[in-house]
């Protein structure tokens, strides 16, 4: 490891630009002749659109056009798609209702667009949007799962009777029933996994520009995966063929999953830019973000776990209702199925698992992947179950976990996943030591004498990251492959450009990927530039989500680097009159081992481009690309232990300590990894204590602003104690597993387990607000 290589805590290259306000986000971009879009959105959760009167709006100053849902349908812009086909138990495909980019006939959630005003200025567009008169006929709404599956519930889509999208299963039902039949003890649990609003710092935005001379579109958008956006816009939404559509995702201020999806607003901006033959900009405001960014989680679950007399797990049965909101968002179908039920084995030997999941339409904002996507929900079920079981079986929660840990790898679970490696005892032991578990009873007694309720809670999470082997996900219904691409361009003077299909929206790729390259060549990270987020520059790539950028995207860079290095070694060997096998790369030099002969990287690069003296038959240039398809998921895992103190007078929870012992495989930049863990833990704590999207009975979002939706602030979270226990991932050349989601996946269960331990009752839902905790204590 050099000072800037693998394992070095290099400060992030991109931060100067972000911190000094030099970042270039979509809203910073201004095009000649640009107009502004303002959407007219439904104030009702469910209503028929009887008519839209744009006449007053059209007469207002600066108005260029008012476009409606019927026009977008008439122009044959495609309906929004869901890219992962799921089949019900009976083999029937999921039952999806149509989702036009603007509603021509029926609105199904508050905030759904019915029309758009295009005007010269943002304020003119806003003024005119208020003047568009929409005649709605209100319909009864089903604003949550229970309301949507009740008999006589309002029907959202004719295609989905009873509002059920699918009734899916995974695992061996008969074997699981057998396990329960022989159980010495059965533990059961009912859980709500609360709905979350992603709240990226930068709201979504889009600028669409149509060039009628070239019949070509450019879209600047807040995307985590611009290539996928182009693919979908082109292949399914009929915007333009791929070669006539350039998608650019410049600096993007956070996504957490919510910027994976292609939303109606981008589609409308593109379509409108051709209609008005002017660039169209839309920048969402915070209210639009609350109402239209895909929400996360929202499960109701019943689970049972069967144990033998020695407290070994025999089986797990899980039944979940997942809320999809009013429409099926791009990857929504996969989240409560293959990203959820496949992780229900947790870190444990569970011989039999059976899970069934009902996907439900409701009159709410669509729900899709949000940091962790399915895996936090799984982890929450398994880890609350383990803690509940320990209490019910009267065993120490750490011991119960140790009794059941998987210790042999590879390990095939009953729910598809084959864990490649891990050391679950190591992370639990590290966390136990760090939190001084042995000293807890004394600390608890002391707190009690001071009138405080102290509790400790565990969460031993596992996640499947680095998504994913294309063949595997294809067989499970994915509409895309989940490989990644990279291109390495060595410039004639030896500086290097890495073009990656990954997309950084806060993760620090410009630093981590540079370190990876710098480490291989022994050069400074300043000599390496990372280019991403532009379909005209970068070859097709799959983007950033699912903790995949380093494990998949970084591995693609390694593969391309290997090709570049092999060619460079040939060039150096030729110039140095040595055998290619004797060339080693050190400190930016190509050296002949055992001699003092060497050629610096810039000279090798120059030789490649002057082509004056290359080996016979060799093409000039030094540039290679690679597509890397992983052979398996990666399996980051770890133990979180949380110690809290609850104030019985107010029900307020405070943190005494929070220990996170994670196994992410090899760390390229430990500081960036810690930042990811801090952020993830904070989101997990946010879900556990503060955050929750609440709809009222009529389907209005009660928590539609930060005045009611509580985001975690610095003083809500503890100073985290981080540990790393490492087993290298055998599945990729870097030995890395991914760290982006772990905190959000593991933290919530640890927090709720700690609070329920403190207050002595297991009945507590997230977010565990002071009000709820106080009621749990006082009845």
């Amino acid at each position: 490891m050099g000072v800037e290589g693998i394992g070095a805590n290099v400060k992030r290259k991109e931060d100067k630009r972000f911190i000094t306000g030099k970042g270039r986000y979509v809203d910073d971009i201004k095009l000649q002749g640009m107009t502004f879009a303002q959407f007219v959105r439904s104030p009702h959760a469910h209503a028929r659109v009887k008519g839209i009167d744009s006449s007053a709006a059209l007469k207002m100053p600066g108005v260029v056009a008012v476009l409606t849902g019927q026009q977008i349908v008439d122009d044959q812009v495609g309906n929004l798609i869901c890219g992962w086909a799921i089949h019900s138990k009976d083999g029937t495909p999921m039952k999806m209702g149509a989702w036009p980019a603007m509603a021509p006939e029926t609105v199904r959630f508050v905030g759904q667009a019915v029309a758009v005003v295009i005007a010269e200025t943002r304020n003119q567009a806003r003024d005119a949007a208020e003047a568009v008169a929409v005649d709605y006929e209100e319909l009864p709404a089903a604003p949550n799962i229970r309301a949507a599956i009740a008999s006589g519930a309002p029907q959202l889509h004719p295609e989905a009777p009873g509002n059920i999208v699918y009734d899916w299963e995974l695992g061996d039902k008969a074997a699981t029933d057998d396990a329960f039949a022989k159980a010495a003890n059965v533990v059961s649990l009912e859980l709500t996994n609360n709905r979350l609003v992603p709240n990226a710092m930068e709201p979504r935005a889009a600028i669409a520009s149509y060039d009628d001379a070239e019949d070509h579109f450019t879209l600047y958008t807040t995307s985590q995966n611009p290539h996928v956006a182009r693919l979908v816009l082109s292949a399914f939404y009929n915007i333009a063929p791929e070669n006539k559509l350039r998608v650019i995702a410049p600096d993007v201020g956070g996504g957490f999953g919510s910027k994976i999806f292609i939303y109606p607003e981008e589609m409308v901006a593109l379509w409108a830019s051709r209609k008005v033959n002017r660039p169209v900009k839309w920048t969402g405001d915070r209210t639009e973000a609350f109402l239209t960014d895909a929400h996360g989680r929202d499960h109701l679950t019943k689970a049972e776990m069967a144990f033998d007399k020695d407290n070994r797990i025999l089986g797990l049965r899980v039944s979940t209702h997942a809320n999809f909101g009013a429409y099926m968002s791009l990857f929504s179908s996969s989240v409560p199925t293959y990203l959820y039920a496949t992780l229900l084995s947790g870190q444990y030997n569970i011989p039999a698992i059976y899970a069934e999941v009902m996907g439900v339409y409701t009159n709410t904002t669509p729900v899709d992947a949000y940091r962790g996507a399915g895996r936090p929900e799984a982890s929450y079920v398994v880890e609350r179950m383990m803690e509940t079981a320990a209490r019910q079986l009267n065993v120490d929660p750490a011991e119960l976990r140790k009794t059941n840990f998987i210790t042999q790898f590879p390990h095939q679970t009953p729910v598809i996943m084959a864990y490649d490696t891990g050391d679950f005892h190591a992370s639990l032991d590290a966390a136990l030591k760090s939190i001084d578990y042995a000293g807890f009873p004394a600390r608890q007694a002391k707190a009690k004498s001071e009138g405080k309720l102290r509790g400790i809670g565990f969460s031993c999470y596992i996640e499947a990251c680095g998504i994913a082997p294309s063949k595997a996900v294809g067989s499970l219904g994915a509409g895309v492959g989940l490989w990644e691409s990279a291109e390495v361009r060595v410039n004639p003077v030896g500086t290097i450009e890495i073009l990656t299909g990954s997309h950084s929206h806060g993760q620090g790729h410009e630093t981590t990927f540079s370190q990876l390259v710098a480490d291989r060549l022994g050069i400074s990270i300043d000599q390496v530039s990372i280019i991403h987020g532009d379909t005209d520059k970068v070859q097709f790539g799959m983007g950033t989500y699912g903790s995949r950028s380093l494990a998949v995207g970084g591995s693609a860079i390694v593969k391309a680097m290997e090709k570049v290095e092999a060619k460079a070694k040939k060039i150096a060997a030729h110039a140095l009159e040595a055998s290619e096998n004797d060339i080693v790369i050190e400190n930016g030099e190509f050296k002949v081992t055992g001699t003092d002969k060497s050629l610096a990287l810039p000279m090798v690069a120059l030789a490649a481009y002057t082509a004056h003296n290359l080996p016979d038959g060799m093409e000039p240039g030094l540039k290679e690309s690679a597509f890397y398809d992983p052979s398996n998921f990666t399996f980051p895992a770890g133990t979180y232990i949380c110690e809290v103190e609850v104030d019985p007078g107010t029900g307020k929870t405070s943190f005494v300590n929070f220990v996170a012992a994670d196994d992410f495989g090899r760390l390229i930049n430990p500081m960036i990894v810690e930042g990811q863990v801090h952020g993830g833990l904070t989101q997990g704590i946010g879900q556990a204590l503060l955050e929750g999207a609440v709809y009222d009975d009529s389907g209005q979002l009660v928590t539609a602003s930060f005045m009611d939706y509580a985001m975690p602030r610095a003083d809500d979270v503890p100073s985290y104690q981080l540990q790393h226990t490492t087993t290298l991932c055998p599945g990729n050349p870097l030995g890395v597993k991914g760290c982006g989601e772990a905190g959000a996946i593991g933290a919530s269960a640890a927090v709720i387990n700690a609070i329920t331990n403190a207050i002595g009752t297991n009945k507590l839902e997230m977010p565990a607000t002071p009000d709820r905790v106080w009621h749990a204590i006082h009845g």
């Binding site: 304020n123 806003r126 003024d127 208020e130 209210t287 007078g649 107010t650 029900g651 307020k652 204590l689 503060l690 929750g692 609440v694 009660v702 928590t703 930060f706 005045m707 009611d708 939706y709 509580a710 985001m711 607000t769 002071p770 009000d771 106080w774 009621h775 006082h778």
Partner: protein
């Protein structure tokens, strides 16, 4: 934001004169309430008259008997005032608990009282300390000033110029923050006047805004201690109930915060 006309007033009289000229005028102080509402297009004043830089409206005067805070004095200045901290430490503490630093640098006591948000902090201090609100027209006793949610005794165009707080023998404030907004989910100000009178005011709890709490006043009158409140039952009738706190939870908070405020008062 809708279009509006901005005026920076040079004096209180100038402000009142400008106000009278507009069709739907609004005073602006720290802007921490008015501007967000305007940005969301929920308010559309024709004219905005800025009071924040009128010299006569800025500053704090402390005598042996009273702390007078002029209306456009920021929360930050009150929180950081050594004079206030000596005379009525609970008042400085309260100001330091409002919002976050950015809000405290801008927001003013006059704006907070004129707005009378049912979860705002200052109203609790004004009511419990029996302060008087001075305006460009008259002097209004605290008991008469607050008139329910977002409603006060102020007449259209009337300007708060200062608030005068009698120095108490003992005073304390305790606040349970709203998890999202950080306003008071419930905050209680307890005060024992130099005359011996005990007044207790709760904010964030009642559907009618800031309120006195007679049951707690009674209990503290005979025995100024947190323990004196152990047996007190605060009724949940008329208290707010929402996703962050049910009425019975808020009733509990009134008592628990009162106990903590007494402990804070010493």
């Amino acid at each position: 934001m809708y279009q509006t006309n901005y005026h920076r007033a040079s004096s209180v009289d100038d402000a009142a004169a400008q106000f009278a000229k507009g069709t739907e005028s609004k005073y602006l102080a720290g802007g921490q309430t008015l501007l967000p509402v305007m940005k969301q297009r929920l308010a559309a004043p024709s004219d905005v008259i800025d009071l924040a830089r009128i010299p006569a409206l800025i500053g704090i005067e402390v005598s042996g008997d009273a702390v007078t805070v002029k209306a456009a004095t920021t929360h930050y200045d009150v929180a950081g005032s050594a004079d206030v901290a000596r005379a009525i430490p609970a008042l400085a503490n309260l100001a330091g608990m409002i919002g976050d630093p950015a809000v405290r640098y801008c927001g003013t006591i006059g704006g907070s009282l004129a707005n009378n948000d049912p979860a705002a902090d200052y109203p609790a201090a004004v009511l419990a300390l029996g302060a008087t609100v001075k305006t460009n027209k008259r002097t209004i006793a605290a008991d008469d000033f607050f008139q329910g949610l977002f409603s006060t005794a102020l007449e259209d165009g009337e300007i708060i110029t200062a608030v005068s707080f009698p120095v108490a023998a003992k005073a304390g404030y305790a606040k349970m923050r709203h998890p999202a907004s950080r306003f008071a989910l419930t905050g209680v100000f307890v005060a024992q006047a130099k005359s011996g009178e005990v007044r207790v005011a709760a904010t964030g709890a009642s559907q009618d805004g800031v309120m006195r709490v007679p049951a707690i006043e009674q209990a503290l009158k005979g025995n100024w201690s947190a323990a004196a409140l152990d047996g007190v039952k605060v009724s949940a009738d008329g208290l707010m109930s929402d996703i962050h706190g049910t009425a019975d939870y808020r009733a509990n908070l009134v008592k628990v915060m009162a106990q903590r405020a007494v402990a804070d008062a010493g």
